[in-house]
Symmetry: C2
Subunit: 266 residues, 2 copies
């Protein structure tokens, strides 16, 4: 299979760098083809701006989504954006390797999303009509691919538990898991998390590497997080969850399929 690793850390000698290297060598040993985008090494431009467009529909006033749509459709995107889209299309699975900074991804990776996720590619796909609101949330250009976050976190696990002060991990990651990965159609695996990353003694690394390798062994077999697909009858024409679904659940969890729910296509 084909695995694309998007890696965002400014120091190659970091734990993140080491985990990226473990993934490359282990996945290769398993017979997979691997490509890496090392965003810092590539000096990836983080800020979405007018320089992203070679020609402009409206040279006077930048409407980013509108120029993005036009550039994607007319094949006038910049080469660096096109190359990253091609890697996403090539991949069967995408791994995002990064340190959690301020309960989200580093800016350089957010800027990769902001720019590579073009209009017509990652959003603005499909028709809007009644209960069918575009091809998104389980459908779309990246359908059929798996995605997994591999994150290092400075804090301690209890602080990310269901009642931890930072907020529960899956709630914090919902905007990324659901809003960035599931949105254009990818199936999202549970994240691979290393807590207390800043305090890890070097002697621990073998254990951590072994744990990550076992996780990678299951990259194509682990069950994804069972987010509800948008266009399979669970949301109404306002894209609001229909009455009777999500019963007994609250917050972001209402968007998870539950036993007894009407089935959705895989």
């Amino acid at each position: 299979m084909k695995v694309f690793i998007v890696y965002a850390h400014p120091e190659s000698l970091s734990l993140n760098g080491a985990l990226k290297d473990v993934a490359v060598s282990h996945l290769t040993a398993l017979g997979h083809a691997v490509q890496v985008s090392d965003l810092y090494a590539m000096q990836w431009k983080a800020s979405a701006d007018a320089a992203d467009f070679i020609t402009r529909r409206d040279p006077q006033r930048l409407n980013y989504p509108s120029e993005s749509k036009s550039a994607y459709k007319g094949d006038t995107q910049t080469e660096n954006i096109k190359r990253e889209q091609e890697k996403l299309l090539w991949a069967d699975a995408v791994i995002f390797q990064f340190p959690m900074w301020w309960f989200s991804m580093p800016a350089i990776l957010k800027g990769w999303i902001d720019r590579v996720y073009a209009c017509g590619f990652a959003y603005g796909v499909g028709r809007h009509e009644g209960e069918h609101w575009g091809r998104r949330y389980g459908e779309g250009t990246l359908e059929g691919r798996r995605a997994m976050l591999s994150i290092t976190i400075g804090g301690r696990a209890p602080q990310y538990s269901e009642r931890g002060v930072n907020g529960e991990l899956h709630d914090l990651l919902f905007p990324i898991h659901h809003g960035i990965l599931f949105y254009p159609g990818m199936r999202v695996l549970s994240p691979h998390i290393i807590y207390e990353a800043g305090r890890m003694p070097l002697a621990e690394f073998d254990r951590v590497a072994t744990g990550y390798k076992s996780r990678l062994d299951q990259l194509f077999t682990d069950d994804p997080i069972p987010y509800r697909m948008q266009n399979h009858g669970h949301y109404d024409s306002q894209q609001v969850l229909k009455p009777g679904l999500g019963h007994g659940q609250h917050g972001t969890r209402i968007h998870l399929l539950q036993p007894g729910d009407p089935p959705q296509a895989a």
Copy 2:
């Protein structure tokens, strides 16, 4: 009073640019002093990297938090980072004006957080001991300041409602509200949101501007979101919410004070 607006949009002729201008003129007319950081105009460097440090504790291997701590303490931070910290310290209220991109802030603004929120300034403040885990979540360097997000959103309001497909707005914003604004001590106001921003006819702008001005009139009187302070007895020594608190609530809402809870200092 003193208001600091952090503004992130690549087009000055945008709705975001217009809302920033409305805020500057209206707050000034109300007698407040206003400073603006226009991140795109400043060509703010979004990516946190080695260039953020003039001198290095360890020139061989970049540990960003450790270098950040050392630079903050030793007053060797870069001028651009220092200037933004000074604006935060100057302010009585901070407004963040930006378009929601992929259920979060644009990369350029995330990179402002990643870099300006230095170790010793926004995190790594105060002692860790028992139930007291640093000065954070309601306490810290930015204590006494108010913060408000002013966001434009392309999507429709129902999709961000309690059962909307995108996730409930306050759940999506929790990593920012709680993890970025409340963390270093600011009091967080409910966000000011303009939905369907991309489809807004120009004729609507007067109404939108009037609504925003009314909101700004209450910048110093609106009640903040009642997040629980960390160090006032509600979290245990693992920083986990104590039994009996958050009863009947779930997800991110357990971190909101509820009627009948033991009081916390304001």
